[in-house]
């Protein structure tokens, strides 16, 4: 049976209630046995009914007096005893009740019960976030801003207390629990039918792995996103089909490669994933030449692997010779000028301060810049609390692994298909450049969001009805402004999924088929406008055919029948800048 607060309460209150019952019984018995006299002085025995009456008002300190007849001295003696006994009994019972309210296990049980009941009653799609660390906090805040419901599991009560202090639109349900416990996952709604996704974001790779396995086994339908640092664990997760695996260091290695080879593609990904509000690029292109990498841990290894792939000349500085087993590395941390000189900083174009200690990284960066002010600085930030220091430093590229994880997690959870696009663009830079050109033309420097439009299962009813009738609808139709069909929405189509086929950057005139999924990128406003085309037959007809159809039933039935306008030629792209490639 499930643990519930009522059982704990009953168990704790067992002794006080028994004591109270016995005190009452003893009191009643005494009054029945002790002889009294009635109003005429004749011997009289109190019956049980009256004895219980007397005890009831005496024990509760109400004290009506001596009923029904004045007591004898023996009865009075007994009354004194009953008063003290019953006061003790009630004090004990009430004291136990109050202590129960302050009892930690009891409070915990109450809280768990409230949590489970709250999660059970969620009626909208929600996400389960395991681990409310700094990454988890960023992800929860972002999901909440996007209007999505969140349930949180976190082991550390102090971290979870932050949940109460943060401002949320709809407050997430949070529980202090070990995410490795299947029972906790169940209570958090692992088998709930509205569960839309699980995000395993703890600091512990093993715990994330356990969550991923539990989800696969207990609710295989639900997508899982897991954060990992260890490549072996990542491979393990991939082996049983974890949907999204985010290794911040691998992602950063890819970013570095892109910054070297195709900075515009990096910029595209930054805008799609990072939802960067500022049109300014986060980082300028990386210069080619001699690089110094300080720290050869997991982070440093990814960076060096990336530089090796690109054929750059790298010098490694690492204090622990065991870590740099297969590479020649200069001993030291890189915080001293001598070490940087011997690594050849005079001729270097860039330096990566990638140790797991923020003070060392800052020290490396400041020293390097003193020696060579124009050097390209890549700095790794480990602690959130050091953000002001890193902001003051103003490195060319500040790497915050939790920001990478949280941005990716939110983007992939909201638009799962985005990962396909990212993978394709990373391997096909020309397509990435083209996508960036289209995006800049259509959206400019506005804030970008991504979404998927499915032409199936009633997600786009108006379009599905039109396709059923054999009407031709193209990708470009979905990008017209519902208020004025000659202008375009601030959005582009990134990818079209048709069965097994993935069509990167579908041409504007491409006709849609039932069952298609289209991945769009554009402003949040554009997404709202597009929903009108998808849902409303009249808007669709206006946008596709240029017909303004009366809306109401009466007008449709008896109003003038308008003849459809000729289909607007698809090639007419002049009015819509977004499709120019």
């Amino acid at each position: 049976m499930k643990s519930s607060a009522i059982f704990i309460a009953l168990r704790r209150l067992r002794a006080p209630i028994v004591v109270l019952v016995l005190v009452y019984a003893l009191g009643v018995l005494g009054f029945v046995l002790i002889p009294g006299v009635d109003a005429d002085g004749k011997p009289w025995h109190m019956d049980i009914f009256h004895a219980f009456y007397v005890i009831s008002y005496t024990a509760t300190t109400i004290g009506f007096g001596e009923l029904p007849y004045a007591f004898t001295d023996a009865q009075r003696l007994w009354t004194i005893l009953v008063i003290y006994l019953s006061v003790f009994g009630w004090t004990y019972a009430l004291g136990s009740l109050l202590a129960l309210g302050r009892d930690r296990p009891f409070q915990q049980a109450l809280h768990t019960q409230r949590f489970a009941r709250g999660v059970h009653s969620i009626a909208e799609p929600f996400y389960l976030v395991c681990g409310y660390g700094e990454t988890g906090g960023l992800v929860c805040a972002a999901l909440d801003r996007a209007g999505l419901r969140v349930v949180v599991l976190e082991q550390d009560p102090a971290r979870l207390a932050e949940l109460d202090l943060q401002d949320f639109r709809s407050k997430p349900y949070g529980l202090v629990a070990d995410v490795r416990s299947t029972d906790a996952l169940r209570k958090a709604g692992l088998e709930h039918k509205r569960l839309a996704g699980v995000l395993a974001l703890t600091n512990d790779d093993e715990a994330n792995l356990k969550v991923a396995i539990a989800v696969r086994l207990l609710n295989p339908e639900v997508p899982v996103l897991a954060r990992v640092r260890n490549k072996a664990v990542a491979a393990n997760m991939a082996s049983f089909g974890t949907d999204h695996i985010i290794n911040p260091f691998t992602v950063f290695g890819e970013y570095l490669s892109l910054l070297l080879r195709a900075p515009r593609v990096y910029r595209l990904l930054d805008r799609l994933i990072g939802s960067a509000a500022s049109p300014e690029p986060k980082a300028r292109p990386l210069p080619r030449g001699h690089w110094i990498v300080c720290g050869y841990g997991r982070f440093g290894r990814e960076v060096v692997a990336c530089f090796d792939r690109e054929g750059l000349d790298v010098t490694i500085i690492e204090p622990d010779p065991k870590r740099a087993a297969n590479r020649t590395a200069l001993p030291g941390t890189g915080t001293e000028a001598d070490q940087l000189h011997s690594a050849g900083i005079e001729s270097a174009v860039g330096i990566v301060a990638g140790t797991d200690d923020d003070v060392d990284n800052l020290s490396i960066a400041v020293t390097a810049r003193e020696i060579r002010p124009e050097i390209y600085l890549v700095v790794r930030q480990n602690e959130q609390s050091n953000t002001p220091l890193f902001a003051a430093l103003g490195a060319d590229f500040t790497v915050v692994s939790r920001a990478i994880v949280s941005e990716h997690a939110v983007a992939l959870v909201r638009t799962p298909r985005l990962e396909c696009f990212i993978d394709r663009v990373i391997s096909n830079e020309a397509a990435g450049e083209a996508a960036m050109t289209r995006l800049e033309a259509a959206v400019g420097s506005r804030k970008v969001t991504t979404w998927r439009t499915g032409v199936h299962h009633g997600a786009a009813p108006a379009i599905e009805r039109a396709l059923d009738r054999g009407q031709q609808i193209t990708v470009e139709h979905l990008l017209r402004e519902p208020g004025d069909r000659t202008t375009s929405l601030h959005a582009i189509a990134l990818m079209l999924f048709r069965g097994e086929d993935e069509i990167l950057l579908p041409p504007p005139g491409m006709p849609l088929a039932a069952g298609d999924d289209v991945l769009f990128a554009g402003t949040a406003g554009a997404r709202e406008r597009q929903r009108m085309i998808l849902a409303d037959d009249n808007v669709r007809d206006y946008v596709v055919l240029g017909r303004d159809i009366p809306g109401g039933w009466v007008w449709q039935r008896f109003g003038p029948k308008s003849t459809p306008l000729p289909e607007r030629p698809v090639a007419q792209d002049g009015g819509s800048g977004n499709t120019a490639s």
Partner: protein, 127 residues
């Protein structure tokens, strides 16, 4: 031997025996039914019920349910007795005592179920 088990079994058996002792006799003969035995029966049944609080097993739940039934029946019997003896004005006559006894006979049935549970549980342990 476990003192908790002894107390538990003691109260269950005692509540059944007291209950039986009160019910035993001709149903409409007030002389066969002692009101003090009813009183003792109520008290012991309440204690037995409280002792069953907080057991999370399936058997524990049935135990508690039978005790609640017995206590409710016995309290109803006591109220009926108080009604006939003091409020109704007729005193305890044949009709009054039959009502009280039949209500506590119902409680006896619940107590017997409780006894059966206790015995079968003990036998299942085989030690």
């Amino acid at each position: 031997m476990n003192i908790e088990k002894v107390v538990f079994a003691f109260f269950i058996v005692l509540s059944a025996t007291l209950n039986f002792g009160f019910v035993y006799g001709e149903i409409d003969n007030p002389a066969h039914h002692d009101v003090y035995e009813l009183f003792a029966s109520v008290v012991v049944n309440i204690v037995a019920m409280v002792l069953k609080f907080g057991d999370r097993t399936q058997v524990g739940a049935v135990h508690l349910a039978t005790s609640i039934v017995a206590v409710l029946q016995l309290i109803a019997a006591s109220i009926a007795w108080a009604w006939f003896a003091h409020i109704h004005g007729s005193g305890i006559d044949a009709a009054g005592i039959s009502t009280v006894v039949s209500l506590s006979a119902g409680a006896l049935l619940a107590n017997i179920v409780s006894l059966v549970l206790l015995v079968s549980e003990t036998l299942a342990l085989r030690r």
